[in-house]
């Protein structure tokens, strides 16, 4: 039997006694390309943090490739939400990606680490800019560097928190093309509040607003969404059906 990348059973999470996530059941397969959509404050980032082991659940069970979450050896690559960075921080592109190869106290980066960094930068198309200061990059370029930092650990599961928020619309297609290339060797889960932006690229969507309202193929989402009253209204106003439904 193949072990799922993520197995979440009956999970509840509370912050200050307020439920943020309730009765979540979610399986992510090893070749999934899933978008978790829902309104801001709907618990999307919290769900990612559960998978990463940054947030512990109050109830239920979480398994990452059959292991407990929070183990640094879990093969997870992570792209945090963009807002958490100081754009003026003194660090260049190469160093940023190299930090993804961290092995532990007193362990220096090896030549192999540097080769992996070069490979990752080539893959995301940022190799020529490896000496650039991070603050000199555009939003889209920065996201590519952070993708490189995530994949330089050679993960089997890539988690992206609002990856499109800081990318110009015209750059988004090439960013999705990069993800399509990466998904050949890892499961990808991205979180977004904007269904229109993601639905034509991903395979499955999960609709989250405290509870999980839908999880399945994009093609069948529209009908379900219409039935689900509480599911974020902006999904319905976002151009269904011509954007959510694939051409067929």
């Amino acid at each position: 039997m193949v072990v799922n990348a993520v197995e979440i059973n009956d999970v509840c999470v509370k912050f200050n006694k307020h439920p943020v996530l309730q009765d979540i059941n979610l399986s992510i397969e090893i070749n999934d390309f899933l978008a978790i959509i829902g309104p801001n404050g709907g618990g999307k980032s919290t769900l990612l943090k559960i998978i990463l082991g940054l947030v512990t659940v109050d109830q239920g069970e979480v398994k990452i490739f059959g292991e407990d979450p929070g183990n640094p050896s879990n093969p997870i690559g992570y792209l945090p939400q963009h807002v958490s960075f100081d754009p003026d921080f003194p660090i260049n592109v190469f160093e940023t990606v190299l930090s993804g190869r961290y092995h532990g106290f007193f362990k220096k980066y090896s030549d192999e680490d540097r080769i992996k960094v070069t490979d990752a930068l080539r893959e995301v198309g940022m190799l020529e800019m490896q000496d650039r200061q991070m603050s000199q990059l555009s939003g889209g370029q920065m996201q590519r560097v952070f993708i490189a930092r995530a994949i330089v650990r050679e993960p089997k599961l890539l988690l992206l928190d609002e990856p499109m928020a800081s990318i110009d619309p015209e750059m988004q297609n090439s960013f999705y093309n990069l993800l399509l290339k990466l998904r050949e060797r890892m499961a990808i889960v991205l979180v977004s509040h904007d269904v229109g932006a993601v639905s034509s690229h991903v395979e499955n969507i999960a609709c989250l607003n405290r509870k999980l309202y839908y999880h399945g193929a994009v093609e069948y989402a529209a009908a379900s969404l219409e039935k689900m009253y509480k599911c974020p209204i902006d999904l319905l106003s976002h151009g269904i059906p011509h954007r959510v439904l694939k051409k067929h």
Partner: protein
Amino acid sequence: MTGILEYSFMQNAFLAAVLVSVACGLVGTYVVIKRIVFISGGISHAAFGGIGLGYFLGINPIMAAIPFSILSSLIMGITSKKVKISEDTAIGILWSFGMAIGIIFINLTPGYVPDLMSYLFGSILTVPVNDIIIMFLLDLIIIITVLLFYREFQGISFDEEFSQVIGMPTTYIYLLLLSMVALSVVVMIKVVGVILVIALLTIPAAIAKQYTYKIGHMMVLAVILGIILTIGGLFVSYIFNLASGATIVLVLSLGFICSSVIQKLRNAL
């Protein structure tokens, strides 16, 4: 002008300026890029409690300030991470608590406290040899720690969440960094005093940040700037017979203003 170098108190003052600049360049760089200026200000003021304790126990106040400021930095670090009050509230409370403890201890100490002002506002011309040795040892600890934990300090400064995901014990590293802030505060107390320490911890690094995009370069540049500006302040205070700690801080501030104006002009051209 060269005549003043022959006095031994002047030689001590120069040594003190160099030792202080090493601490402010290395630790100050993290204070600036990790944006922990306020918590560092809290640690430096709380260190006054240790000074008071030293007077009370009749030991060297600088020695007493070492465990006291490390302890207060750990309490601040843990409170700001774990307790459900906002971080700046916790810092504000410990900041004034430490100073109050210091004042009470000095109150309880029998007799007159002669050089109290030098701990509050600094007195680079009266740094005794014993304190120079302590400052040197603390600098050594700071240098070794920064060399050993360079990757971790960079990681938590740039992106704490990602660092945690890839297996760094980020809370412990943060507490270690705050302990380094505490040690550098102790190094600086004699030169600028607890109230003005924050100027040395921030200004040289802030100027250096305007000229480089590498943490290592920023540290070296901040050390050099620290030496130049501290000794510059020392000379100005000697020539005009002004309080040395305050003059050094004024020179540092002027240096920052000049550098910012130069940067603005360079960008405008």
